[in-house]
Symmetry: C3
């Protein structure tokens, strides 16, 4: 793997507080002039198992040549390793806690490596700022990172299922993104969610306000929505809650 990224995208569960700002200030110090975009910072807290299934969908239509720094990392400061992953013509830096497992499995030719290098001093709780950002800077400069290739089968999460029939993420409108791929689902099928059976619709304006449905969202996932209403509250569903099964007519 060699580095030639044109921008950095950040994906974390940090929310909109001080952590993102400190990471970005450090990036501006170590990688001045490299565009940095906040891809998402409201991933469900601590839930690397959910973010892992959202990540390949989030990345699908993003520009190639991107370096992602991804931090959903409840084990920060402990034994877990750090990874550098190459997939979909982009690179990913983050913890080996399952976050990259579905991405590596879904992308043909993906490669992963453990990061041996660590800075001489870093906090115990903020590896995003103190470890992963400096890794990005060293990677950009071609400096040694002590990389050790790791087989996909040896990543944490390598035994997780291909799809996750659960809510991964709730957007501002209350729409529920699931870990089910939409492309393969027949449009005649319906999805059980909460206590409701939801039919398919192509998009919001094809159903009456207040009605629920599932559709293929802009990331390629099955998403549960209510036109102009909050599906999360109407169905009583939160990130991590199971959905399904998906019912196909005879």
């Amino acid at each position: 793997m060699t580095s030639s990224f044109r921008r950095i995208l950040l994906a974390t569960d940090f929310g909109d507080g001080i952590y993102v700002g400190q990471m970005r200030a450090r990036l501006d110090e170590l990688l001045p002039g490299v565009p940095v975009v906040d891809l998402v910072h409201d991933l469900p807290p601590f839930r690397a198992d959910l973010a892992a299934y959202l990540l390949p969908a989030l990345v699908r239509d993003m520009p190639h040549g991107t370096l992602y720094i991804c931090v959903v990392d409840p084990g920060v400061g402990g034994e877990r390793d750090g990874l550098l992953v190459h997939a979909q013509d982009s690179w990913f830096i983050g913890p080996d806690n399952g976050l990259f497992a579905p991405l590596v499995r879904s992308a043909s030719g993906a490669k992963a490596a453990r990061i041996g290098w660590r800075p001489q001093a870093m906090s115990a709780s903020f590896h995003g700022r103190d470890w992963f950002v400096p890794v990005a800077a060293r990677w950009s400069a071609g400096a040694d990172l002590g990389l050790t290739p790791v087989d996909a089968a040896d990543l944490v999460g390598s035994d997780w299922p291909t799809e996750l029939p659960a809510v991964l993420y709730v957007d501002r409108f209350g729409n529920l993104m699931t870990g089910l791929q939409a492309a393969d689902r027949p449009r005649t099928g319906s999805l059980l969610a909460g206590a409701r059976t939801l039919p398919y619709a192509r998009t919001f304006c094809e159903v009456a306000p207040g009605n629920g449905f599932w559709y293929e969202n802009a990331l390629g996932l099955v998403e549960i929505a209510i036109n102009q209403g909050p599906a999360d509250r109407a169905l009583g569903l939160s990130p991590g809650d199971p959905v399904g099964p998906f019912l196909t007519p005879d």
Copy 2:
């Protein structure tokens, strides 16, 4: 209309989740090096009718030569058109759902055009990323957009009132921005809001903590506030709720 914008400002109801990040990553891909600023992303969800009255005020003191991409778009994926508007020495891209009607009416010499061009493939639910951002890139490059001039009288919202006596937006402090222009209001007048009659004050520190008042905010609108307290909760008002009438002493 020809393009010569120096920056892009984004105004949406997307909140702080994944949508803004995906738009910005696409912008960095298609328009590298152009400054992009998040002007506002917490516009009241689905309420193009409210955002429409906030937009001219938001734009009033912003630098000229700006391209705005504006998305409050409950009809996304349906029949509604896309518009390119020239007003106040800036350009605006977004849906023809009323969002630009007060702006076009209030700005002398404003021009609007329907956008005929569409990308070969786009999602049904995320035209901000898939249509309006590519439109901005084509506009910047001077590529054909299939523009058709449209009369102000033919825009959705052309029959809406000049002012809106309602809450448009609530800020983090609970202050309530209304759709009433402040410049013309006598300072001896008072505003009915919730169950209260609010006198004028020049700014916060001229009233005792806990007291309510109306004032001319930094956008030129009548704003309802309580010094160091949340006016929205104290008055029980939310975006869309009516305010007024404005009472002028004999």
Copy 3:
């Protein structure tokens, strides 16, 4: 003091609404090409007294040569002065309401000056956009700001205590940052907070999920946390609430 800053960091209590966007658009107009980073915008509203103790910690590990524009300013539009401060090889612009007092006291060689210059027209309620951003631009250009040196002892807040045994800030995970320096505290000590006595732990993954502890956070402050749980709700604590005392074994 002369200016040679390489980036601007913003620290406010504005939340994620329209104010930050308007400040950034004005910065892009007046200081094009200067990197701007949102360091924090969810400081507790109106609480300059709390932000004042967070600021030196926030700044400690940030890159030198930074200009900070800091706005927690309940007295905006009133008599309070504006300050330009030089500390920790960086510069700070903001109100003289205590916000910079602990910073000036903690940084050796810090200097402060009152800003005499004001723009010809500015709103009464949005000095961040209308006064402090133009000050930054004039400072960058070497233009006159009417600076008057002011002794540290004459700043608002000069009589405040060195540490603040209270909650300064709550992050997205419910962790509670306090105004106590962690470096000097013995790890055998415990902290009273809410109705609980919390032992020390190095970091999250050293305690069982659900257990509370105090630790030295990445800013150098004593922080109260519960592993994978919201300490704020579990302990019933909010910004401004007192914590302590800190108990050291005999």
